[in-house]
């Protein structure tokens, strides 16, 4: 049973969503390397699924990142992501800062080398005070191969909404994030129940731990 739930969870996480890597751009020249633990909910439980990423502050307002989902790899799909986060509007007192993200997710099956590429873009509003960062984010994946879905059931965008907290203190950062996954579509796994937020899509809680240097 645990094996079954784990696999279902992996299916869900591997493809629906990954946690937001960077909200507030790093300092110029700063690196951040982290592990993320996704916990999308299926049935009554959560199970951990692991990913890793690295990010580097290119300037004071731009940070590049790249990541990999280890759990997808375990099941035979190479899932990589890369992109950039940049400050759009700096924080001004209680007026939140706004950052934009853009990048892409790439999937390749190690069985038949099927390949999918999903550009993504997002916007983050954040409040940073000392080591504390609060954020709300909206993100969407774009599916340029929606027409490859069986029986014309593809969709061009796959959005998510999230809210999170990060503690960025010197060389360490801890992250927690709640996500609404693909709220414009009814997600479905045979013989499994996917809890949602207000009946929309799926939901998950993501944790991350990273070091800065």
């Amino acid at each position: 049973m645990v094996r079954s739930i784990l696999s279902l969870t992996v299916i869900f996480l591997a493809s629906s969503c990954t946690p937001t890597k960077i909200i507030v751009p790093l300092e110029q020249g700063q690196w951040q390397v982290g592990l993320t633990q996704g916990r999308p909910q299926i049935n009554d439980g959560f199970l951990p699924v692991i990913g890793g990423y690295a990010a580097k502050g290119m300037t004071e307002t731009r940070t590049n990142y790249g990541g990999i989902q280890f759990s997808s790899l375990l099941l035979g799909a190479v899932q990589l992501e890369g992109g950039q986060v940049r400050t759009w509007i700096p924080q001004d007192g209680f007026k939140p800062g706004v950052s934009l993200s853009y990048g892409a997710q790439a999937f390749m099956s190690t069985r038949d080398y099927a390949f999918r590429f999903y550009p993504e873009t997002g916007i983050n509003a954040y409040w940073k005070k000392g080591p504390h960062i609060l954020n709300t984010s909206a993100n969407t994946w774009v599916d340029p191969t929606w027409f490859l879905a069986d029986f014309n059931r593809g969709q061009i965008i796959a959005p998510s909404l999230s809210a999170g907290y990060r503690l960025r203190y010197k060389w360490i950062e801890a992250q927690v994030e709640y996500k609404m996954l693909n709220p414009i579509r009814e997600l479905h796994i045979p013989q499994a129940y996917i809890p949602s937020t207000a009946g929309l899509g799926g939901r998950g809680v993501y944790y991350g731990i990273a070091i800065n240097f």
Binding site: L8, I11, F107, P190, Q191
Partner: protein, 282 residues
């Protein structure tokens, strides 16, 4: 960027080491306590006609249940039931009792079996190959007892549609000419795409590739499709898209608004059995 590139190359070099399909099969223990005391009185059977048997399938042993006279296989219509995703044939004993009384007591012979990893059947079901081998092991026995194509009716429930599809499309040593698809799935890709909302193919997580639409397009015999529109296990719309690719000699569908995956319980035994019996007798 160099780190990202290194990660990508490293990932390509790693072989996949897990497959979701085996984990999604719900096989489990069975007691095989096939007795009348577990059946409603109207579905009681002659207990002398209950035969538990097993066959070799590759390196594994497949357990099957036949209800009826063994000698009947050579002369009468036999219903071969491919059960859904539950732990063992125990869960379908009531269904067996119903079929054993379809059209009268022991009017038809009835056979079902447990896939590898279900009930007492050994090994693990892993995909199309293991499912096809298990199906063939059972049909080989029926063939050896004299069953011919004109007297074979295959009834596939949910998961059972996965081996039934390729068998109907030409993969059965006894050609199927009457097929009932009850609450079938559609394609392996659909399962992946419904779980993610993306156009990902199933090969990202499993080597078990199935396509009932293609199977139905290749199936030339008679087909009855039964489905509820509120099915939350095998979604109605994708099943419809797959099944309606059938282009065989006869097609019938029984669609039940607002009914779910437990179709027989939702619509009642009388409607369920009557629909199947009418199809068999047509």
């Amino acid at each position: 960027m160099r780190l990202f590139f290194a990660l990508f190359v490293s990932a390509l070099l790693l072989p996949s080491c897990a497959d979701v399909s085996a984990a999604m099969f719900a096989g489990g223990d069975g007691t095989y306590d096939f007795k009348n005391e577990w059946l409603d009185p109207e579905y009681h059977v002659d207990e002398s006609k209950i035969h538990l048997m097993n066959f070799s399938s590759d390196e594994d042993s497949i357990y099957a249940l036949y209800v009826g006279d063994i000698a009947q296989i050579a002369t009468d219509t036999i219903i071969l039931y491919l059960h859904g995703n539950a732990s063992s044939m125990d869960n379908f004993w009531e269904t067996a009792g119903l079929f054993a009384n379809l059209g009268g007591a022991h009017h038809f012979g009835f056979m079902m079996y447990d896939y590898r990893g279900f009930g007492w059947s050994t090994g693990r079901s892993t995909g199309a190959e293991s499912m096809a081998a298990d199906y063939d092991a059972v049909v080989a026995y029926l063939e050896s007892q004299g069953l011919t194509s004109d007297r074979l009716v295959v009834v596939a429930n949910s998961l059972g549609s996965l081996p039934a599809g390729p068998a109907a499309a030409g993969g059965s040593r006894i050609a199927i000419n009457k097929l009932v698809m009850e609450v079938p799935q559609s394609t392996s890709n659909v399962i992946m795409q419904n779980a993610t909302g993306l156009s990902l193919p199933s090969s990202m997580i499993t080597s078990y590739k199935f396509d009932l639409g293609k199977n139905m397009a290749d199936y030339t015999g008679e087909l009855l499709w039964m489905h509820g529109t509120a099915d939350d296990v095998a979604p109605f719309e994708t099943a419809k898209a797959a099944i309606r690719q059938h282009n065989g000699s006869y097609y019938q569908e029984a669609i039940y608004p607002d009914m779910g995956h437990g179709l027989r319980w939702d619509i009642g035994d009388e409607e369920w059995a009557g629909t199947i019996l009418d199809f068999i007798r047509r």
